[in-house]
Assembly symmetry: C2
Homo-oligomer: 452 residues x 2
């Protein structure tokens, strides 16, 4: 009998879960987004359950403060811990779980990013991952001396070069460069030091990085781009893709496209793991699962509901909330706005329907069901080449992780789909990825990034 | 009887101690600069001994890689952990000790610095400090798209504005802004949110910061400037000064000058703590203390000795090592080079003498002695208005901290000069500083930074 295909699992931990009303749930600590103890509780539970990695999305600004009056102050998305500092603290209190933090290529310097993630990889003993994003809101641009965010092409061109610089800096020192020979007085072997000397369109960075090569060789690179340049960057440089798909057909198409792109870059398709985001509402029975979702949906006030759609469709307060959704307007993330509009058209949804749907899963794939029915879907996606694993986006935390442990994992394990022990101490080992050689990330121009 | 004046104590922890040959010492773990466990050992010992704070100097590049051939590879100053990530990890494993990390105003964005230190303050429950530096090496400039470092006036003008922006961002939210009222659905009170809207010569930053006001109100600001603009910035905005002085007379003059400057900014002079750096070699007898120093001095090869002077005096390999020191040339930190040259002139020192002297204490104040003789000096500095406390720069770690615990602290406590228990859980409380109001840091132009 063929062995069941194993899946990888990540847990997205931002704020207090992915439901817009998560903070109002009776079991959720409403101040948790600023509490190390809250996230430690989640991380320890996830580690006890052998989840591959916890993940933090991020923004460098309060994106919600341009919402219509009354809505902004009802949002929990305004105060949080910075993810690399938070994950360093969690690293010190855990042993095996992967730690993936987001950093923007638009509003950081590549040297600082290379350094902070290398540091996190050393501190955690090889569990760091960098989720590469380009940011999307004007609110972020305003915090960095700009009137407007970079246009799409520019910011992706920047990201492309930024990743090359970071990867090149991570290759500054060979694994055995540091001799630290007390007898001879030689601290390192100068033959094993490589100066990057990068001079590109956006960045000039000499190097070397003031860090040794990290326990994972280099931190894992995670990316989420669905657009053409985003897919290209992911196929070229990423180890993991957090994708977004609402149907198995779309997920399969994305999966096939990405694996083909990876191969076109001369990489083995298994070197890139595709992990769609998914939100569960799970219970022993369908009724109980539905009740969990309903409890949260009822906590959404109409003005908060409209605010969910604000960045995609503008101010909808003058529309009939139970009428049809208008076309996207000034959308911040066009692909997302288009897919919401398409969903509304195809299913004849009202404005209220749409915001409730988005709220239920933060516009990602959402499943309401029993452990069996949910794992049936996951297994189907896994076996039909739609996913190598899943990035779980719980509606609420910490109880969302408890639901995963109580309902989802036992069923996955009963079918032989998920580990009972970690494969190793590093994220790379648990993801089944090989230790990279220097220069493993090949730039768009085909040359090795590192100047050996 | 008048109460003995209490002192504050910091511990500088960078690399493996401040002696250039520290890593070759038999009791020093030569790979410790990349090891969380090494620094945790030091931090836990320091906390057990009620030290106010541990401190990490920093650079954003390998400054040593322009040294003459053969010297660079003999330096330990090339690979280290990034201080905010390291201190976040230490925060998770300690309860009371202060955590001060360096970040450069020349090679960071103020929003990112404000955010990371606010995050560290939340994570640590109010123990974060930011040591403000402007950087000084070309090696750092080269990692950030520049051919040369910013000139002195420009980088201090940048630092001045940068600190205002960071302080203003830290004032984004009033202490009770976050209601998180599950019943009403109101997450925060919009009246208690303040948008900075900073538009200056170097920075345009709107805000708000995506963090709540921190446990200390805002993190502690530390600064070390000895120059005119450095002193002015420190007097205006710092809570603690890490000063550098080789004699009590110079320390007294600096202390008096800084306290007067603080008063001129309308602050109470007690709001700024002056803490000179000091390196001890201590033993039960003077002979044992001297033997500790000699052991390290003998581990300095001549080429490493000359490399210590390289950034101040250029390449000295063609000079007689036992002849006189030439005048400073292309000095990176002019004030330091001048003071070394003056020291050599006044004491008739050879090149070898100077590098050995610098090596003994990393060019700071160095005392070799018994517990009694050392604490006599500290007490004298404290009582004669030369210091509010001291920033201990141990020659080696972790054993330098063990020496402090075994020899220095018992003597300080016997004289009633140092605490036996922490005053509170925050660094601010232990330093005896009040919780600040919003807008407590007054900008150079007299106005409050925050736009209330």
């Amino acid at each position: 009998m063929a062995q069941t295909r194993q899946i990888k699992l990540g847990l997205s931990c931002r704020y207090l879960g992915y439901h817009v009303a998560a903070w109002r749930h009776p079991d959720v600590p409403s101040g948790g987004a600023l509490s190390l103890q809250h996230f430690l509780k989640v991380a320890r539970k996830a580690e006890a359950e052998k989840i591959d990695m916890i993940f933090f999305a991020d923004s460098v600004g309060v994106r919600e403060d341009d919402l219509p009056p009354g809505s902004a102050a009802r949002s929990m998305k305004n105060a949080e811990l910075e993810p690399t500092t938070l994950l360093s603290a969690i690293a010190a209190c855990t042993q095996s779980i992967g730690l993936v933090a987001t950093a923007s290529t638009s509003y950081n310097e590549p040297f600082n990013v290379a350094r902070r993630y290398a540091s996190l990889d050393h501190i955690s003993g090889g569990r760091a991952g960098w989720n590469v994003v380009t940011s999307w809101s004007e609110q972020e641009a305003w915090n960095f001396g700009r009137d407007q965010h970079f246009d799409y092409d520019t910011r992706y061109a920047m990201a492309d070069e930024f990743v090359d610089v970071v990867a090149g800096l991570w290759d500054s020192w060979e694994p055995d460069a540091f001799l630290r020979d007390k007898q001879s007085g030689l601290f390192y072997d100068p033959e094993k030091l490589h100066i990057l000397n990068h001079q590109g369109r956006f960045y000039r960075v000499r190097g070397p990085l003031n860090s040794a090569r990290t326990p994972q060789g280099r931190p894992i690179i995670v990316q989420a781009g669905g657009s053409e340049p985003g897919r290209d960057l992911g196929a070229r440089a990423a180890d993991v893709i957090y994708s977004s798909a609402h149907s198995i057909e779309k997920a399969q198409a994305y999966y096939a496209d990405m694996k083909a792109r990876v191969a076109a870059y001369g990489r083995d398709p298994s070197e890139l793991l595709i992990m769609p985001g998914v939100t569960f509402y799970v219970g022993e029975t369908m009724e109980r699962a539905k009740a969990k979702q309903d409890l949260l949906q009822q906590l959404i006030e109409p003005q908060v509901g409209l605010s969910i759609l604000y960045h995609h469709f503008g101010d909808l307060r003058d529309y009939d909330i139970d009428g049809p959704l208008p076309e996207p307007k000034h959308a911040k993330v066009k692909s997302l706005a288009d897919s919401l509009y398409q969903m509304a058209q195809e299913n004849n949804l009202t404005i209220r329907d749409v915001y409730l749907t988005v709220a239920a899963g933060n516009s990602g794939w959402t499943i309401v069901g029993t452990p069996e029915s949910i794992v049936d879907e996951l297994q189907s996606w896994s076996e039909k080449n739609a996913a190598d694993g899943f990035n779980i986006c719980p509606a609420t935390l910490p109880n969302g992780m408890e639901d995963v442990a109580e309902f989802i994992l036992p069923e996955l394990r009963a079918r032989g789909m998920f580990r009972t022990e970690y494969e190793g101490p590093t994220l790379r080992e648990n993801l089944g990825l090989a230790l990279p050689e220097l220069g493993d990330i090949v730039s768009r121009h085909g040359r090795k990034v590192v100047s050996l």
